[in-house]
Symmetry: C2
Subunit: 337 residues, 2 copies
């Protein structure tokens, strides 16, 4: 359904969309991954945004290049530098029923800065003060960071720079001020000392973030024992008589490597406090398109739309396609511990 | 010269001090590393701040514990968790000549939060608006983060939470607003994709940071080819007729692993722009106390005091002792490329 952005690229995945209501429509910002169309059987290639020329350049190597490492199909390592075999941009899709979508022919946002040289990934959309704020993963030789952009009309987009420095992704901005400040969940990625965990940060203006605190870590011997990170933008729920936030997140376990979704119930006034957490996944890879594909056994969400007791979860399946599931909020709440 | 903070701890290192003028004195905030006094030959031990009890607890294990990994003398790994064999706090030292110091008998700041459970390290002190701002490395099971505290009198200290989430350290806050905003160099530590680099961030209030941008990366085949990070708080210099910032930083090379100091000359109005960088180290491990010790071949600064053409650099040597060197600013400038 999604045309390539250029004739020398082919679409290799359409997944992990941000999702939000916009007037009478449901808008998805799809992550579209493209790879250079192959010119020769023995070649590997990477599309990279070149900041100095302002253009997307295609780099091609022979698999026989001395010292080249192409053992991971996602990366090319040569002379101590890493390149990605695909580059992602965002494509707008619109629907009136939330199921059938028209996909734009051209990108909504694509790599345009040095820190996006390897693409933009995994957008989340939060409506605040009449503006749609889009946070996304900015990927480059400088690492995996989180950028912020905004739009009021989903026609023009303004960038606001990097809000979380590498390595940090899976950011979700809460759709309300809390005690006068903005809040976001984020997922720093410490190596060596430190656990994979979801953190919270606070901001006066959405651009500058501080007062970082860990919120939830991977749990041993569960479906989320390897790592966890933010998923859909949190939304308000009533848990009994308590106002709270429900944050659908992703958790990863190994053997075999599996990405599933669960939920965190966070205190309505202080979302650094966890009130409950899914004992079991609320969505796990079961369908063939979830269990097989570019990256098998993955369900991964960047956006969900609550309506009454239902929440419609848009998600990427196996890093290849976009799927949707309707879940019951009361079932999710009943499965918390 | 430095007494332990408790009878069951011994001082194993006094290094990496923050340094600043305070009235007629030079103040150092020394990083004092302590380890539990051994009770048995066959034991390993860690001192950890326990947030629930509010106390420093000493944990002891036999080296024969099944599954224990004590191959690195700095760490104890057991059951997937890591502990440190030493814990650091800050101790105040005062001097009227900058060479002879009186060291306080008790800590100025020590582990006091969950995110400081493994200690506080590597303080940098910046004077802004009459307040001394101390940023430091907060170490815990949650990773290596940067915390912020402040004092007006070096008697009482107020914490302001985590300003850079893990993995991030080696932060230096500029001692002036630049175009109305505060600025800091920081050193995120991406793994996999991303290079070790010094970044800049901006803040309206010192607590919330954004607009992150890379400033300088490790350079190939040099004294700083493995990693680099901030060192002393930057200070104003005139480079010819140009107002600029001089930032003394540390660079690391391997074979053998060596930490040296160099300088970055940064644009006075936009310190994300590098005007010059030391071709060769301005200080490298040469003296016996720099070349041998707990961590050999290390010179590492957290504070320097400029006066005219001289800059007095306080630095940790071999992660064991505190040393001082007077360098010529004009020599540093002449060695930039």
């Amino acid at each position: 359904m999604v045309r390539p952005s250029r004739p020398d690229l082919e679409v290799v995945g359409v997944f992990n969309p941000g999702a939000i209501r916009y007037g009478k429509e449901i808008i998805l910002l799809l992550r579209v991954a493209e790879a250079p169309v192959k010119r020769a059987e023995n070649e590997v290639a990477a599309a990279v945004f070149d900041h100095s020329s302002g253009k997307l350049e295609i780099k091609r190597w022979s698999r026989d290049t001395p010292g080249i490492d192409v053992s991971d199909p996602r990366t090319i390592i040569l002379d101590g530098r890493m390149w990605l075999t695909s580059i992602s941009h965002f494509r707008l899709a619109r629907s009136t029923d939330g199921i059938h979508f028209d996909v734009d022919a051209t990108p909504a946002m694509q790599a345009a800065t040095e820190l996006e040289a390897f693409g933009v990934e995994d957008p989340r959309i939060t409506l605040l003060d009449g503006t749609y704020w889009i946070n996304y993963t900015a990927v480059s030789q400088h690492g995996i960071a989180t950028g912020l952009a905004s739009t009021r009309d989903f026609r023009t987009y303004q960038r606001h720079g990097i809000i979380f420095s590498p390595p940090n992704r899976d950011v979700t901005i809460f759709p309300d001020r809390i005690a006068g400040r903005y809040a976001a969940l984020h997922r720093p990625m410490p190596e060596g000392l430190g656990e994979p965990a979801i953190w919270i940060a606070w901001s006066p203006d959405l651009f500058d973030w501080g007062h970082h605190l860990p919120v939830a870590s991977a749990r041993r011997n569960t479906w989320d024992d390897l790592k966890i990170g933010g998923g859909a933008v949190p939304f308000h729920v009533k848990a009994g008589s308590t106002d709270a936030w429900l944050a659908i997140y992703h958790g990863v376990t190994r053997t075999p490597l599996t990405y599933s979704l669960g939920a965190l119930l966070l205190d309505g006034r202080d979302p650094s406090k966890v009130l409950g957490r899914s004992r079991d996944p609320i969505l796990a890879p079961e369908a063939p398109y979830e269990r097989e594909g570019f990256f098998a056994k993955v369900v991964f969400t960047c956006g969900a739309i609550p309506e009454g007791d239902l929440v419609r979860v848009y998600y990427g399946a196996a890093d290849g396609v976009t799927a949707v599931a309707d879940l019951s909020v009361s079932d999710i709440l009943a499965g918390l511990e």
